[in-house]
């Protein structure tokens, strides 16, 4: 392909990738009662409807809460696992890596089904948030692991040994030497875990308890029966929130988040 032709082709593909997202954002400012294109006029009407809709507001709070819990648990477990992987795994390195990435490599729908049966079999059920949080932690763990282990690649174990020879205990060594150095990876991994958890659908859908709908579930339920632009307003807020987290972490905090 010649150069201008290739560039044009890529632009078309980028447009294809962005089209459905752009359409949702544009539709959210529609002033009409139905989704029409081009929009009938510009208004924030559907945002007002959305902010006054207790069902969606509750779903947002649930989503944020679960994402925060997930982020903390996944952040701690994933960081510990990455520390083991980089400095102690030895010959098991490849096994540890594949195991840690397994939740990412296995189909989400199967993991969700497996967890659903399991929490029932052991008598936990879906009365509590337990099953859903476990599912979210599993799905987000690989992202924390990838980010933290990447930031540890430049960590020299001799720094730790130097601190040890100066009398620092294991925990002090971690807190004073290692943590400050791997902090970007930990923060990046945690933020990404937050975003992923906020957007996870299938696991939440199968493992949600009564009255614990997250935002994606509420949106999905709404879309099966309704066609007003309110769903577009909800979606746009969700997109803005996710993008804000990414932009803050990459531009303001200067983190480089590893997604794969």
């Amino acid at each position: 392909m010649s150069k201008p032709f290739l560039t044009l082709y890529c632009l078309i593909i980028y447009a294809f990738l962005l089209a459905p997202i752009a359409v949702v954002v544009i539709a959210s400012f529609n002033s009409g009662a139905f989704l029409t294109f081009p929009p009938q006029g510009f208004s924030f009407r559907w945002y007002v409807v959305f902010f006054n809709n207790e069902v969606f507001m509750r779903a947002i709070r649930t989503s944020l809460g679960i994402a925060a819990i997930t982020m903390v648990i996944s952040g701690i477990i994933g960081t510990m696992a990455a520390m083991f992987y980089v400095s102690h795994a030895g010959r098991l390195k490849e096994t540890v890596r594949i195991t840690m990435l397994a939740p990412l490599l296995l189909p989400e729908v199967l993991t969700a089904i497996a967890l659903l049966f399991f929490v029932y079999s052991v008598g936990i059920g879906t009365q509590t948030m337990f099953g859903m949080v476990v599912g979210h932690v599993l799905i987000t763990l690989p992202f924390v692991f990838i980010n933290v282990s990447a930031s540890m690649e430049s960590y020299d174990p001799s720094w730790s040994m130097a601190a040890q020879s100066l009398g620092a205990g294991r925990f002090t060594r971690f807190r004073r030497i290692m943590l400050p150095l791997i902090k970007p990876g930990v923060i990046g991994g945690c933020l990404f875990a937050f975003i992923i958890s906020f957007d996870v659908f299938t696991i939440s859908f199968l493992l949600k308890g009564v009255g614990m709908s997250t935002l994606p579930i509420q949106l999905f339920d709404y879309l099966r029966t309704n066609f007003t632009p309110e769903a577009a307003a909800v979606s746009t807020c969700s997109i803005v929130l996710t993008m804000a987290v990414v932009i803050i972490s990459e531009k303001v905090l200067g983190l480089r988040i590893h997604r794969f």
Binding site: T7, C10, A19, M80, P107, V109, T111, S160, F201, F220
Partner: protein, 286 residues
């Protein structure tokens, strides 16, 4: 950089213990439990009853409806994968070899859809593809069509949306494969008189095969197990296997039969991936 000598004692093992317990108890055991579940007796009013049976599998194989659904799901998976490969390869090449200003932006554009929830992206496609959607309205306002084109509630709509959702998963592995090819190999071929096309076909394309293989497997597996997109775009009219399985579990509580269906889909998918892997490895060693 390099691994410190493994220290004696249980200390380091405590680091991996929480993750190992989490994955062991809440991933490995539950997956094995699906297999057990698929042999359980269907229950009345409960998800399953005591006792074991092969009945769930014989029910699956006795009904051509389910077999056809697996075939349809595989077919949707094949087409989605093929389209992602054909559409994504030039973009991956441009991202790996193009000039850098364009590259950073392009990279961000390929990655950003991944940050938007799957429900929202599928919703965007319903706005575009519906009978009253943007595409149909635009075409009819231009007088190009009389009635709405059937873009939604069929396999076509599902494939369009799935290609959109999974295209980044095809572009990224191919991009890194091409980035790993030394550009001087191509220059060498060119200096020995190969045309641009020949250099691409004989050097770059074969060397990027591992990336293509990884992307194809990823996209194929993801599209077989996709739930949200087929269920929002296909509606009640076209169901893929993943949708049927989840509905059987959520709406009618047929856990044993749902497990059997899920396993049959997984096994078929795995067989296809293994055959594909064998064929492509042979190809690039030959």
């Amino acid at each position: 950089m390099n691994a410190a000598p493994a220290k004696k004692g249980l200390g380091p093992l405590l680091l991996i213990a929480p993750a190992a317990v989490l994955i062991g108890v809440f991933l490995v055991l539950p997956y094995l439990n699906i297999v057990v579940m698929s042999f359980r007796m269907p229950g009345q009013g409960t998800p399953y009853a005591p006792g074991f049976t092969f009945g769930n599998y014989s029910k699956f194989f006795a009904d051509s409806f389910y077999i056809m659904q697996v075939v349809n799901t595989l077919w949707i998976g094949f087409l989605t994968t093929f389209l992602c490969l054909v559409l994504g390869y030039p973009v991956a090449w441009q991202l790996a070899r193009g000039n850098s200003a364009f590259r950073a932006l392009g990279y961000a554009l390929v990655l950003s859809p991944l940050l938007v929830g799957i429900v929202i992206r599928s919703y965007g496609w319903t706005i575009l593809l519906g009978n009253n959607g943007i595409i149909n309205r635009t075409l009819s306002s231009w007088g190009l069509i009389d009635g709405p084109l059937p873009l939604m509630y069929n396999a076509l709509g599902i494939i369009i949306a799935l290609v959109h959702v999974f295209l980044p998963f095809m572009i990224l592995p191919i991009m890194s494969a091409i980035q790993g090819i030394d550009p001087s190999l191509e220059s060498a071929a060119r200096s020995l008189g190969a045309s641009k096309v020949a250099a691409f076909r004989r050097i770059t394309l074969p060397l990027s095969l591992p990336g293509m293989q990884a992307g194809c497997i990823l996209v194929f597996v993801l599209s077989l197990s996709a739930y949200v997109t087929p269920s929002l775009i296909g509606g009640l009219r076209v169901k893929t296997m993943a949708v049927t399985v989840v509905d059987a579990l959520i709406d009618t509580f047929q856990w044993p039969f749902g497990s059997a269906m899920a396993l049959m889909l997984s096994v078929t998918g795995a067989v296809v991936v293994i055959i594909f892997g064998r064929l492509t490895v042979m190809k690039w060693k030959a």
